[in-house]
């Protein structure tokens, strides 16, 4: 093993370990601030940089809040329930963080300083996308571990919910990605991103749009974001699997959750939103990194927006939504995409437009039909008045 290789591996991976936790800190601030504004509050606005006590003058919109939170978390008491499985209670947050961090390597995120290096990036692997899904699935284990090791009934319920939910939603997640893989003919993340150069983003095709919507919804469930945050449903099961976590272990869970959010948004960007493609990339290659992260943040902004708006689903409705709505729709999407792709090989111009519109109609009608089928009696009602 040459020293060069070690150096290159470090140069390729360490930035991921630095940039994303930093972004995590920023995102927590962003989320708190955005949610506050959605709810007509002010949000964190006192803690400045560096942690000024009398905020006000140097508060910088409360940007110091994540730092203060981090310090608070570090110094909080680490409480472990008496009956808990101490080993697993300790391992679970770490295990939650590792896969989330690991899958970041599979994103085609090329930093300017890595160009001249050996090709050590994991996204050049032949099966990068499938690796991504495989390793994301490990998160489930960590959550189960946390839920089980806490010896708390709410935690256990949360763990059970998490397993059921994440396994179910992995299927539409993967199936919607299949469409893109089919079109590109490769599981290599870099190739997929490159195939979408010149604004040929998959989200601009009907099947790509449908797949993107399904992917986005399923990814919300996969990372336990509202409206699918059942494993940590506050109003029902306190905090779900991390009810019994405090201090730094809780912070690790928190970090893992946000990193997973970045990772899955990054995959969505890779698959549907053209990776690092964007205006000005041809002239300045490093802009691709900026675009990539900007797109991730656009998706995260939508997630925050959804979180500020929606209540959560019920367990059976959640499972029904995955199995009775998303799964058939994503399978149909694969079929539609296959046929349409072959049909438009010969067609051009108007015919192509007709095919696209037809695809959209088929997909929308199916979705509508499935919705009607799943919830036939759910609709607004009329009320009577007595004088």
């Amino acid at each position: 093993m040459s020293l060069d290789l070690i150096r290159d591996i470090l140069i390729a991976t360490v930035p991921l370990l630095v940039i994303f936790p930093t972004l995590f800190a920023f995102t927590t601030w962003l989320e708190r601030k955005a949610l506050a504004r959605i709810q007509n509050r002010v949000g964190p606005n006192k803690v400045g940089v560096p942690l000024t006590r009398y905020g006000g003058r140097f508060s910088l919109f409360g940007l110091g809040q994540p730092l203060a939170d981090g310090i608070k978390m570090l110094f909080k008491e680490n409480i472990v329930p008496r009956d808990a499985d101490r080993l697993f209670h300790l391992l679970a947050p770490i295990l939650a963080l590792i896969p989330a961090m690991l899958v970041l390597c599979f994103l085609p995120l090329e930093f300017p300083w890595t160009e001249s290096l050996l090709p050590v990036q994991a996204f050049l692997l032949d099966g990068a996308v499938i690796f991504f899904f495989a390793i994301t699935g490990l998160n489930t284990l960590a959550i189960f571990m946390a839920g089980w090791a806490s010896r708390n009934k709410y935690s256990l319920l949360g763990g059970m919910r998490a397993i059921a939910q994440m396994i179910s939603y992995e299927i539409p997640l993967v199936l919607s990605a299949v469409v893109v893989v089919m079109m590109v003919g490769s599981l290599n993340a870099a190739e997929i991103a490159n195939a979408q150069a010149d604004w040929n983003w998959f989200v601009f095709t009907p099947w790509g749009l449908a797949a993107f919507v399904i992917f986005f919804i399923a990814s919300l469930a996969e990372i336990n974001r509202s409206p699918f945050d059942l494993p940590e449903a506050e109003s029902e099961i306190i905090a779900g699997y991390f009810t019994e976590y405090s201090g730094f272990k809780f912070a690790l869970f928190f970090l893992g959750e946000y990193i997973a959010m970045f990772a899955i948004s990054g995959l969505a960007v890779t698959l549907f939103l053209g990776g690092g493609a964007g205006p000005g990339v041809a002239a300045l290659p490093w802009l691709s990194t900026v675009w990539f992260i900007a797109k991730i943040f656009a998706l995260i902004a939508v997630m925050i927006w959804l979180r500020g708006t929606l209540p959560r689903l019920r367990v059976d409705q959640l499972m029904g939504f995955a199995w009775k709505f998303l799964l058939p729709l994503s399978i149909l999407n694969i079929i539609v995409a296959g046929f349409a792709w072959h049909a438009q090989q010969q067609a051009s111009g108007i015919l192509k437009a007709i095919i696209w519109v037809a695809c959209l109609l088929i997909l929308y009608a199916t979705a509508k039909g499935l919705d009607q089928l799943n919830r036939p009696n759910v609709r607004p009602r009329e009320y009577k008045y007595a004088e």
């Binding site: 504004r37 959605i38 007509n40 509050r41 959804l306 500020g308 708006t309 979705a367 919705d371």
Partner: protein
């Protein structure tokens, strides 16, 4: 046939409007900055917060002119004990629903706000950890001696002693009362003046009527009535 997910989009439009609106409309961002900040020194007793009377009222967003918190005793002049209105009649102590007032009557009389020798409270304690700000003591007081303060910064490191307000903590001037509750104070002063005028007119009328009958006897009667005029009405 409604749009699939249409309700969700409508809801998102509402939240987006609120998000944007919170930057532009005061209506949508009702949070007020609580600008009073603790100084380095912690207060040792309740009531040591704001240092000057009425200081916290600079921040009109947290306290309005109508809000009430805990009772205070009124005095009219600059020297509190010389112009205290309270005559230690103990009606408020009896009527207080959570029984948080403790009064001990003085043994000797002393000249007070009215300019006549009266009893005064040797002890007047209010346990604000028990007081529930119901304002019943204010209503039952026949002398307008106790009114509601709006001071709310009462936290103290001493859980027991610190929350027992003594007579001297409770004494506030009528000017302060005017500052915190201008409308109410003006109305009250007006009513007191009217009552006083009415009483004086009555006294005058009675005196004049009595003059015709027998001067000396009437005078003595009028003085006896003045001593404890309202007490008898209310005590039962």
């Amino acid at each position: 046939m409604s749009l699939l997910g249409g309700g969700i989009f409508k809801g998102m439009a509402v939240t987006l409007r609120n998000f944007v609106g919170s930057y532009f409309y005061k209506d949508r961002l009702t949070t007020n900055d609580y600008s009073w900040r603790p100084s380095d020194k912690l207060p040792q007793r309740a009531g040591e917060y704001p240092k000057e009377e009425g200081e916290q009222l600079r921040d009109t967003t947290t306290v309005t002119n109508y809000s009430r918190n805990f009772p205070m005793l009124l005095h009219d002049g600059s020297e509190p004990m010389d112009t205290i209105r309270c005559v230690a009649c103990q009606i408020c102590e009896r009527e207080c629903p959570p029984q948080c007032i403790y009064i001990e009557k003085s043994t000797e009389k002393k000249e007070n706000a009215g300019g006549k020798p009266q009893f005064f409270p040797a002890t007047f304690d209010i346990d604000v950890s028990v007081c529930m700000s119901c304002q019943i003591c204010v209503e039952v007081c026949p002398f307008d001696a106790i009114v509601m303060n709006s001071q709310f910064e009462l936290s103290t490191p001493d859980r027991f002693g610190g929350l027992l307000l003594r007579r001297d903590d409770l004494l506030k001037s009528n000017g302060y009362y005017h500052k915190i509750h201008p409308e109410e104070a003006t109305a009250r002063d007006k009513r007191i003046a009217e009552e006083k005028a009415a009483k004086e007119a009555k006294k005058k009328a009675a005196a004049e009527a009595a003059k015709k009958m027998a001067e000396e006897k009437a005078k003595a009667e009028a003085e006896a009535n003045e001593g404890t005029p309202d007490m008898e009405e209310n005590t039962e």
